[in-house]
Symmetry: C2
Subunit: 171 residues, 2 copies
């Protein structure tokens, strides 16, 4: 068996969104144990002109839901990007998980022949679906989840790479 | 077309290793322009008990070469992990690129049926090849490349997400 585009994207997003949820929850516990407001993490940045934690989580969510929608030829739900507390960020991840779980592999049938177009103020990009998954959607997603992890790790939260990798099903 | 395990791993590693090389080179230019030793970056960390930049690069390299070897049923080359300068780290990335480029898709034929075993002091993990690629090798790889990026970004190097994503071939 090789991987369909569904297999190469949705399980990746779901698996790592569960990890992201765990990481955010560990940050909350960390703050509660030390009796400071966990929500200060939501606006923290690794560098003044980098995006804060809430934007990292929102963009990871967007990368995943946008990819699912584009590959299935549907419209993604609009999320308001108004999360400012850790509880709201955990909810955003949960909503994204719920949305991705609503897809069935059959909805991606024929996705291989789609050209995926990404428009930004700077440029319009046209990808084959395979290149979109492996060189755009998935790296973009991991980039923001890992940056969220690094930011919290830098902020003293006791997390490790196994929290990021999660528990992988055994053969 | 769906993705073979070769298609789902080797082009991902190659594409992002080229990005990593660019990012390391930009860090060198940044230091040279400001007249400080670029090699201070090699031992920098985002947090005292996180791994320094040179280890992040070495582990990203190991994730990629280990995956190629395991999926093709061959032995990976041993690299000494003795890089301490930025030039040596760039060379490590280049050696990894050269090694991955030596693989042909046919060498991965039948990889789907392999059980991939990872032994660590803590546990022995047995993955299906598909789960190994999408839930272990690829996330591990992105985790360390993104951490290298975040560390340099935090260290003031003027890089952006497009340096990480690289130029994706257009449909």
């Amino acid at each position: 068996m090789s991987m369909s585009l569904y297999e190469a994207s949705i399980p990746t997003f779901l698996h790592t969104l569960h990890s992201l949820k765990t990481i955010l929850e560990k940050a909350v516990s960390h703050a509660e144990t030390r009796k400071f407001d966990p929500n200060v993490f939501a606006s923290m940045r690794l560098y003044p002109d980098m995006l804060p934690l809430n934007r990292q989580v929102q963009i990871a969510s967007d990368a995943a839901k946008g990819a699912a929608a584009r590959l299935s030829g549907t419209e993604p739900p609009k999320f308001e990007d108004n999360e400012v507390t850790m509880a709201e960020l955990v909810m955003r991840v949960t909503k994204t998980i719920d949305y991705l779980q609503s897809f069935k592999a059959e909805q991606f049938t024929g996705a291989e022949t789609r050209v995926i177009t990404i428009k930004s103020p700077r440029a319009t990009l046209n990808f084959t679906a395979v290149d979109f998954v492996r060189h755009w959607a998935v790296p973009n997603f991991y980039f923001h989840v890992t940056t969220a992890y690094a930011l919290l790790r830098h902020g003293g939260v006791e997390i490790g790479k196994l929290d990021f990798l999660g528990a992988v099903p055994q053969a």
